[in-house]
Symmetry: C2
Subunit: 507 residues, 2 copies
């Protein structure tokens, strides 16, 4: 190891992109598969996704949405119905052209056969195929609003992929809603943006900026795209969720019309919104450190690991029994509305290795329990939000009595740390020189390290956006929805500006 | 309507296959999509599937399995690794051959472009792609057993499709496990068969026969396929779940090897097992009647619907408030480990239509609540397991005090009815003539109606199986695992037989 003081090599400072891959490997969350750009999500990573799913699903249902399921395949002609939409996705579609395999003419293997009359695209997103169903379901204003969500896999043929952040196949949810009026559809779009922001902050402990995208960053076919943007530890922005006001564009493409109360046949107003397994990558890059993953308790697959230390015990069975009882007591404690999840790790491996494996997996609380702990009716506890060496004995009863509070404290601590990090790397900038310096790495060997988020006035001029993208690979992440925005002057064009926007390098 | 006395036209007696489609339509569970053979699962159908998922997922986790996720696409060369396996699936594969779309030469639309070097098959099942991951994960006996489950969509290009029963894309779970010994793998296969049987009987209220398939009905590549088979109301069998002992076939195909305790490099033993959205079809055909869907309370998306009757009320708001309080009280009751789910239907439509919509949706308990009910502090209740007209007033307090028991009673009643139906249509048969008569419809206009399940001795002779399939479209559903099987003589071949097997027409 180049740096024996950390469990992950390299460290964030040394090589951030490689650190990210190594954190995932060390936590055993996912790996690349034999299929180009597709990942295998391993149990520890998948359990985290299941917790994300369960929490979000509850929030969607609480806001009146119901789940449904639509076909994986989209006829090519459907995709073509919305011009900007197909333009946006045509370059990265997996296309099914045949429906069986048969022996190749030379007899050495199988080749595609049974050519389809119309190619089918594996859904990159489902506006068009769901729109076709909605056109059947919506007849009258009485059928509205129609509030549907789908949990599904989607495929976008990406050239450069990274585990969780950008993969050819990924898992996500896509909400699709239909409304009688523009106002209701806009309100839905903003409601779901707030749901995403609340989920990110309260459950992922990840602060986000919310706002609207500029025209150049909109979802293909949308009127407005709203987003949540988070700062990663390399100070880059990560778009963690989007909510689209689609106007009547997709309603017209799919012929979603309804009889209004006044008896008129009108085109409906639609929205769509989604988050994906990318959130797992966002969570890693928000909280993990040079010892590996750090899990916010609200989403951790397990909260507590108990490691019985029996090798020196006169009566190993007694220690095991003590640990079993402890686990049973822990499971009676409710945290975040659910019983605390506990693992007992009885594997016959070196104690130090075992402890470090759990540190790397990011479990919030580690308990080592040996004969001496049992004798004093205590546990030897380590918290993942504190240095690995900072651990010590706690009376068992006290540990149990304070466990839920301890987890809540860790959840809060992670959010506060992330907020402090973002604040330290966000700057209001009013001159072009300062802006360019902010985004120029101090050290050429670490090109990823730069200033962070720049809050700068912008007049709405797309040419400025384009110039800065070309010069610095920096983009406007969003026009934030700050209520008390003050006007000013764009430092690049000198034109008047209504408010500051957020500029950053981005994933 | 041809028969105004039932909510569903035609009735089961009149036209069973059409009745099935109409039940699904009337309950608003699913519909055909614009993509050949693919269905749209609507919210009421999907919520039922979510309950099936949640219950099974708990059972899988309780038996030590963990969820993970593997790629949707399988490289053609992977599928080819196991000869019987590819032979079994080659005729029904969706094949991805291109990774983008581009303008057609004549400029009229888009055509597939970016041809892949190796075609990708959309997974029809995942033994080969998961096997490749397992080969990386399994090194030593310490890594075993490896107990993994995946919830996913799969695609099999079916020629004739029917909602839920046979669709090109369907949702399922596939368990995949790796073991150090044959004995452990066989024990796992049988354990998951028991889990499926328990789920079917306790939660779906659907009695099943468990047993092993004959060689001709095995999963392609398996050593043994075990199954649960249920009798539908047209007396046909439906295979509702399978559990496969794969021996070392897939371990050899995928090179899943491990260092044994003795230090030898050995091929592992694997299993796979799955159930799918087909279970929804099985549930419908087990319990639905001529008035529509009937839901077993353990899996019902909602247990109780409250319909406020306000059109004659002096004070409609008081009735609404009474209903809201009632709903809040109902939600405090625990049934089957979860709060009772209640819907309040405030839609402004005719009361009779509303009641019949909920009957057709199969909700276990309907409550109509108007000013008179409120005045007497009671509810007007109907149970879906009893005739629609058999409804009446119950004191509110009594209703609440007995609700959990009422639901449990309905769950039990549905299972008993299904058991009685199966018993009435299962016969031990010892002569060829009786067997052929049993499977010959009495009425040529209703070819689907026949005897049911025939329990007949069979020597293991594949020629007999083939002859009966040709003559009657009847197959051996399974060789049941009855502990006290008595030997006898095959009525077709005259050869000695160890036990009776189950013959039936099948979905």
């Amino acid at each position: 190891m180049s740096n024996p003081k950390t469990a992950i090599t390299p460290t964030r400072e040394e090589n951030y992109p490689e650190w990210y891959q190594q954190v995932i490997r060390a936590a055993d969350m996912a790996e690349n598969s034999d299929v180009r750009g597709c990942m295998v999500i391993k149990p520890w990573g998948y359990a985290l996704w299941e917790n994300i799913q369960r929490t979000l699903d509850g929030m969607f249902k609480a806001t009146g949405h119901r789940n449904a399921y639509f076909p994986l395949f989209i006829p090519l002609s459907f995709l073509e119905k919305e011009a900007q939409h197909v333009e946006g996705f045509a370059k990265e579609c997996a296309v099914v052209t045949h429906h069986r395999l048969e022996a190749s003419p030379d007899g050495t293997g199988l080749v595609p056969a049974g050519k389809l009359d119309e190619p089918l695209v594996v859904r990159p997103t489902s506006e068009t195929i769901i729109g076709a169903a909605f056109a059947r379901w919506v007849q009258s204003y009485r059928d509205l609003p129609l509030l549907i969500n789908q949990w599904a896999n989607v495929v976008r043929w990406e050239l450069r992929t990274r585990l969780f952040l950008r993969t050819t196949e990924f898992l996500w949810q896509e909400g699709h809603t239909v409304h009688a009026t523009r106002e209701e559809a806009v309100a839905e779009t903003l409601q779901m943006l707030r749901v995403y922001a609340e989920f990110a902050e309260e459950h992922m402990a990840m602060p986000v900026v919310t706002g609207v995208k500029t025209a150049g960053e909109r979802f293909p076919g949308a009127v407005d795209t709203y987003c949540i943007e988070a700062m990663m530890q390399d100070r880059k922005a990560l778009q963690a969720g989007t909510s689209h006001f689609l106007g009547q564009n997709f309603a017209k493409a799919s012929e979603i019309r309804f009889q209004s109360e006044a008896g008129e046949l009108e085109y409906a107003w639609t929205t769509s919104w989604g988050v994906s397994t990318r959130l797992v990558g966002a969570l890693i890059m928000t909280h993990a450190d040079d010892d590996g993953l750090v899990l916010p308790p609200n989403l951790a697959p397990a909260h507590v690991v108990i490691m019985p230390v029996t090798f020196k015990a006169d009566d190993p069975k007694a220690v095991e029994d003590y640990c079993d009882q402890l686990a049973a007591d822990v499971r009676k404690i409710i945290y975040n509305g659910r019983p605390v999840e506990v693992e007992i790790d009885r594997r016959d491996i070196r104690g130090g290795d075992k402890v470090w494996q759990w540190i790397k997996k990011g479990i919030p609380i580690r308990l080592e329990v040996g004969p001496r702990d049992m004798a004093s009716d205590s546990v030897f506890m380590g918290r993942r939000d504190r240095p690995a060496k900072e651990k010590g004995a706690v009376a068992r009863t006290e540990f149990l009595a304070t466990l839920a509070d301890t987890l809540a404290d860790m959840q809060r601590t992670l959010l506060e740390r992330a907020r402090a990090f973002r604040a330290a790397h966000t700057r209001e900038i009013d001159t072009k020189d300062e802006f360019y310096a902010f985004f120029t790495p101090e050290n050429a060997e670490r090109p990823e390290m730069h200033g962070g988020f720049a809050m700068t006035h912008w007049s709405g001029d797309a040419a400025v956006e384009e110039q800065i993208r070309t010069d610095l690979s920096v983009t406007i992440r969003c026009i934030p929805d700050i209520p008390d925005a003050t006007p000013g002057t764009c430092p690049f064009s000198g034109k008047p500006s209504a408010r500051r926007v957020v500029w950053a390098k981005a994933y």
